[in-house]
């Protein structure tokens, strides 16, 4: 079964001048249609051997515990038909609670946390569920425009079952005042933006331990190609 075409009102436009880096990097020509053959629908797939110690708990990857507000982020990876995507690789990365990435090129003058590297990786279970324990990332300034600040966000990378389901995105937090000013968040068509905002969930929240957030991830799925 073929993967459905992606509707036009989901992804950002590649050329989004408010996000300055798109101006010289967005391809100018329209993408060509690629009929779906074996290469497009065949994988890759991974198993738990791509994981590493404390792969799902970013607070336990170093000697001590990182500073910051401990959080649990969980959800399901589904396709657009509502079917769970089990055994799929989900990768996560983020800055620390002060808004600094564990990365040699991050020049933001906020402290590094010796106990936080900021990368995680899980394989979804039979119901397509994933779960990470981490700390809430800080906001940080960037040089896109005067007084530009990224809202707190987690980066997600998800594979699904084929390259046509591949998704790299960012998860945000409800009520963040910086969302209104962020050209990356606002590059998404308006009605789809809220899908990138996780929901605080008291059921996920662990008493005396961590706040819980739910973030479901919906990938393209198989279906009849609509006539057009």
């Amino acid at each position: 079964m073929r993967i459905r075409p992606r509707p036009a009102d989901v992804n950002p436009k590649l050329l989004t001048p408010a996000y300055g880096s798109t101006v010289k990097r967005a391809p100018a020509r329209a993408p060509l249609v690629l009929p779906q053959g074996a290469s497009e629908i065949s994988g890759p797939r991974f198993d738990s051997t791509v994981l590493y110690p404390s792969h799902d708990d970013l607070t336990r990857q170093c000697e001590g515990e990182p500073l910051g507000e401990r959080i649990i982020v969980t959800g399901r990876v589904l396709d657009e038909n509502g079917d769970a995507l089990p055994n799929t690789l989900v990768e996560l990365w983020q800055c620390n609670a002060a808004g600094r990435y564990h990365h040699s090129k991050d020049q933001h003058e906020a402290p590094l946390d010796p106990n936080f590297k900021g990368g995680g990786r899980v394989i979804t279970d039979a119901q397509g569920r994933y779960r990470f324990t981490t700390i809430k990332p800080g906001a940080y300034p960037w040089r896109n425009h005067t007084n530009a600040w990224r809202p707190a966000h987690l980066h997600f990378s998800v594979f699904g079952t084929s390259v046509l389901q591949r998704l790299v995105t960012q998860m945000y937090f409800q009520g963040d005042p910086l969302l209104a000013y962020d050209p990356i968040f606002n590059s998404v068509p308006e009605k789809a933006r809220e899908r990138l905002v996780s929901r605080f969930d008291l059921e996920i929240t662990k008493p005396e331990f961590a706040l819980g957030y739910r973030f479901d991830i919906v990938l393209r799925g198989p279906g009849a190609t609509p006539a057009n």
Binding site: V10, S21, G37, G43, R45, H155, L196
Partner: protein, 181 residues
Amino acid sequence: MSSRLTPSQTIGPFFHEGMKWRGGGTLFTAGTPGRVVRIAGLVTDGDGQPVPDALLEFWQADASGNFGAPTEGACAGFGRVMTDDRGRYEIETRVPGAVPGADLKKQAPHIVVLVLARGLLHQLLTRVYFEGEEANAGDAVLASCGARSETLLAKRTPGADDAYVWDLSLQGPKETVFFEC
């Protein structure tokens, strides 16, 4: 039915901790059958400037035309590389066997490539083919690109049968062909 698809966002510049990959640009383990080849190249933007913070993912069949399954810490035929400070990348792989296209006809050997970078709000999908392969002439996808099919051909390095060069141009007169995804 209204779509619930999760929108894409840029990978940003600081993905290395989350996307580190043990096999890197080595798509198959040593001893895997097939002709061993290296592909290296440069990623540039619309000004011809190097893109030092791109992530490239490669996915292909093995030399017999079969797609890999999960193996120890990897998946045969999958590779992931980050461009260096000069915008360069390199992979080592096998020339893939022929696999069927959407019309079930065999296609010329090719590798699927995903491109992600700061400034790209969603991934780009493309393919790399091998200069000099006879089957290129009959490949429907290459034909669909017309004169721009050149941008999908990895060029043989003179004097080195196993070395190819494939540069990617995100924008501009030599813009690489990208496909809907």
